[in-house]
């Protein structure tokens, strides 16, 4: 199963690498921003349309 930790958008917490933020760049019709949403390293990413493989 592909998980969030394999994704470029996943930024693990220093104090607990099993948790982290999914950080993405968004452009809506009025503004551009970065958003962060808490995710777990082991969260299932197989259905995530925003998944981007992390470069090793």
């Amino acid at each position: 199963m592909t998980t969030c930790q394999e994704c470029k958008n996943f930024f693990p917490l220093e104090e607990d690498p099993n948790r982290g933020d999914c950080v993405q760049r968004v452009k809506d019709p009025r503004q551009a921003y970065y958003q962060a949403k808490p995710v777990n390293a082991e969260d299932d990413a197989s259905a995530c349309a925003s998944f981007q493989k992390k470069q090793q």
Binding site: R30, Q31, Y33, Y34, A36
Partner: protein, 836 residues
């Protein structure tokens, strides 16, 4: 970044044509221009939210999931409430907009409206039934909403409270005919103990340390070898403290999440070294506040935004009581003048952004609230100027910066209300005037000495506290002090006062909602003289006010246990000290008031009845009753007689002005009989927001010649639009007959002035002379529209071209194109007063 977006020679041309909105666009910095245009306009237009603005389902889902998870938990309710709050802050999506220096938003994305499903099922149903605001894919999300609505049915604050209210009162109130809003501690206007949290002495961590100390002490005390009532009650205090701690800790954590995001952006994505530096500054600010007191202006603003954002996570807040120049002013001074770490231009950028951050705040509101607040999400009336606790002028350089920033970003919400007093310097008055002249419709001007005395008269606030007042909503002063701040003003003590006179003719029966709402006074046609008629008016007034006040009193008493607010309590010295909830009336002084919508119709109607029925005997009461029941149909000549030949308020005409004073006296007397659970009084406060339009189809025909469906007067003690025929001094003289200290809590006055007449230095001098008369006559409030008819008519014809024209509606401003046609017409109808 604090450079003008574009050096444009057309700026002066725009200013000459008084097209201030185009001039502002050219004058502001590139950053402010970007951020101003990035705002998703959240105010409803014609009761509907704009396309693209969506209900935030994320927080609603988080709330619901956590509530389910807590169902089996043995935690006391207040602790569960705090855990729910913490869960949202820990898990919501956060974002940082390009160019921003300040962060934090009530929703999870910029275009979303926060929806808290735990407050009222009637609100939840409106979310479900508002397909325009449901995010895509609508079908899927409607199913999500349905699930949330179903879960909360019977469990929301209002659902739980309703069975313990007086059902008769509640039904009358919820009928929508006499009141506005619901009696809930998590839905209304929350003032805060700014003297405790906003004076640089402490941050959340300091409060948490204090709480820990308290809890340790009590923990020891309850285990002493003794037992008594005090010990039995200490467990409740422990629970409240525990809940406050959970809420404050969550507040620190979410700030750290923003800090982390800013660092991730700086270290991984940002290539521009200047922006990188800004992001690291944001990170440093969010690590500092709210945990610790701010160190500079940016952190001070950031601290404030976090507090507002968190408070709006806990409750629906329809207002924004604050005094930003007073509380942030010392940081401006330090950064700009002492440490010189900020230039004036850079500081102006921060101030402008602070306004923008507030302008984008939104929480999903029911349709009746949207109609009453056309074009805005709530009344963010920010208090400026005034005096400090010792009575010295509190205006500072930040006061001026706020006025200047307002003219650059031109947001309609927040607006400012300026506390005028005799020590205000000319330099500051000029800045205030410039905002008005630029057509912002704000600041409104408040008479500080009058309102300080008023706060002492009605609520017994000591003078030092009375001087620290802010607008709790559009108009009502409330100190930001330990015992003075009112944690929640429940909006439903808002009386649709035109019903008072209407019910005299219907013996209290409301033909619109088809129920007996008012007092069953005798058939109006049996009254033999004006005194008997007036007695019936007084009884209707007492009945309507009592229904509304009883439900607020009940809700306030129940609030600490049924609808606690651990976060707001955690910001309050009296709660930290006592371990009681912020709404607990036993630890507050009380600052209640009845907002009197549609008020002046009473004086004009009573005066018309007195003159044409009792003094001149031209018509009988039976005839008038029939005419009103038929909405004047078949009685047009008679109606015109009541419009044209009866005296009207606002013309310095003693016949009607005396009646106004009599009505106010009757209310003032009753206000001292009505008591809030803190034991304090319930004075009235005539003002309207856009209730005059909302109630147009709810208030029947009236003896002032108004028909069902016609807009009501624009409110407060403003004369009916176009009925003030004797000029601005006559308006001031009528209003000056009112004792603005003892006859009510505050009195809104709208005035329209001519932008052409008030151009240049001469215009400023004319306005100052007008303001001197206003102050000498002892009025407590005035606000101005200074956009001419031609511009407003052009905006009606070609709204796309006039998107940025702002007008003063009532206690707030709005973009002209965002308000209904009826409200637009009502504003155009107002008399433009020539000065001098």
């Amino acid at each position: 970044m604090a450079q003008p977006a574009l050096k444009d020679t057309r700026v002066e041309e725009f200013e000459k044509k008084q097209e201030w909105w185009w001039a502002a666009e050219k004058r502001r910095s590139g950053r402010l221009d970007y951020l101003r245009k990035a705002i998703w306009k959240k105010g409803a237009i014609g009761g509907l939210y704009a396309p693209g603005v969506k209900t935030d389902l994320e927080q609603a889902v988080l709330t619901t999931n956590m509530a389910k998870a807590l169902e089996g938990s043995p935690d006391p309710y207040v602790v569960k409430s705090a855990k729910l709050f913490a869960h949202i802050l820990d898990n919501k999506t956060i974002f940082i907009t390009d160019h921003a220096q300040l962060v934090g938003y009530t929703g999870s994305l910029p275009n979303t409206m926060n929806w808290n499903p735990s407050i009222a099922s009637i609100l939840n149903s409106e979310v479900f039934n508002d397909p325009i605001s449901i995010p895509e894919p609508v079908d899927k999300n409607q199913a999500v909403i349905q699930e949330i609505v179903d879960y909360w049915a019977g469990k929301t604050d209002l659902d739980k409270m309703m069975p313990v209210f007086d059902m008769d009162d509640l039904m009358k109130m919820l009928s929508g005919s006499i009141g506005w809003g619901v009696p809930l501690a998590r839905g209304g206007y929350s003032n805060k103990d700014y003297e405790y949290i906003m004076t640089g002495k402490r941050g959340f961590q300091d409060i948490i340390d204090e709480l820990d100390k308290k809890m340790d002490e009590i923990d020891d005390a309850v285990h002493e070898p003794t037992a008594n009532k005090e010990i039995a009650m200490m467990y409740d205090r422990l629970n409240n403290w525990e809940a406050m701690r959970i809420a404050l800790e969550a507040g620190i954590r979410i700030a750290k999440r923003y800090a982390r995001l800013a660092r991730i952006m700086a270290e991984n994505f940002e290539e521009d070294p200047k922006r990188k530096e800004e992001l690291l500054k944001i990170a440093a600010a969010c690590e500092q506040v709210p945990a610790h007191p701010p160190r500079n202006l940016q952190e001070s603003f950031q601290y404030d935004i976090f507090i507002q954002m968190m408070s709006r996570t806990e409750a629906i807040e329809g207002a924004w009581p604050c005094r930003p120049d007073y509380y942030h002013g010392p940081y401006y001074d330090k950064d700009v003048h002492i440490d010189k770490t900020l230039t004036k231009e850079e500081a102006l950028d921060l101030v402008g952004e602070f306004l923008i951050r507030a302008a984008e705040v939104c929480q999903f509101k029911p349709k009746w609230a949207r109609e009453g607040l056309q074009g805005i999400d709530g009344t963010w009336v920010w208090t400026m100027g005034g005096v400090d606790e010792k009575g010295k002028d509190a205006c500072n350089d930040l006061t001026i910066a706020f006025m200047q920033a307002a003219r650059l970003v031109r947001v309609a919400n927040p607006t400012f209300a300026f506390r005028w007093h005799p020590q205000v310097k000319d330099e500051v008055m000029r800045e205030v005037f410039e905002c008005i002249r630029h057509g912002l419709g704000y600041p409104s001007i408040r008479n500080d000495p009058i309102l300080v005395s008023n706060a002492m008269h009605w609520h017994g606030h000591p003078i030092e506290e009375a001087r620290l007042w802010v607008h709790q909503a559009c108009m009502s002063p409330n100190p930001t002090t330990k015992h003075g701040y009112q944690p929640m003003r429940m909006a439903n003590a808002t009386a649709n006062c035109a019903k008072i006179i209407e019910y005299v003719f219907t013996s209290g029966f409301d033909p619109v909602v088809n129920m007996q709402v008012g007092a069953e006074t005798p058939d109006v046609s049996t009254f033999k003289n004006f005194e008997a008629f007036f007695d019936a008016w007084v009884l209707q007034m007492r009945t309507i006010f009592s229904i509304l006040v009883r439900s607020v009193n009940r809700a306030r008493l129940l609030a600490p246990t049924m609808t606690p607010r651990p976060f707001l309590s955690g910001l309050s010295e009296r709660c930290i000290e006592s371990g009681q909830d912020t709404c607990d009336p036993s630890i507050a002084r009380g600052n209640a008031w009845i907002t009197a919508f549609t008020w002046v119709e009473n004086a004009d109607s009573l005066a018309a009845v007195k003159k044409l029925v009792f003094d001149e005997g031209k018509y009988s009461l039976a005839e008038l009753k029939d005419a009103l029941a038929k909405n004047w149909n078949g009685y047009e000549d008679m109606r015109l007689d009541f419009v044209k030949n009866a005296p009207k308020w606002g013309n310095d005409d003693d016949d009607v002005d005396r009646i106004m004073l009599r009505c106010l006296d009757a209310c003032a007397k009753f206000s001292k009989e009505l008591k809030c659970p803190c034991g304090n009084n319930w004075p009235i406060l005539p003002e309207n927001v856009s209730g005059n339009i909302h109630y147009a189809n709810i208030v029947g025909a009236l003896p002032n010649g108004r028909r069902l469906g016609d807009a009501l007067y624009d409110g407060g003690i403003s004369p009916g639009p176009g009925l003030d025929k004797k000029g601005p001094t006559a308006v001031l003289k009528s209003c000056g007959k009112i004792d603005h200290v003892t006859q009510g809590r505050a009195f809104l006055l709208n005035q329209r002035l001519s932008p052409t007449q008030l151009a240049g230095e001469k215009g400023f001098q004319l306005w100052k002379a007008y303001m001197r008369t206003w102050a000498d006559l002892g009025l407590d409030h005035v606000q101005f529209n200074m956009v001419d008819d031609a511009t407003l008519r052009s905006a009606q014809k070609d709204p796309e071209k006039y998107q940025e024209v702002i007008v003063r509606v009532a206690g707030y401003s709005a973009h002209f194109v965002d308000i209904s046609r009826k409200t637009q017409d009502n504003i155009i109808q107002r008399t433009v007063q020539g000065l001098g």
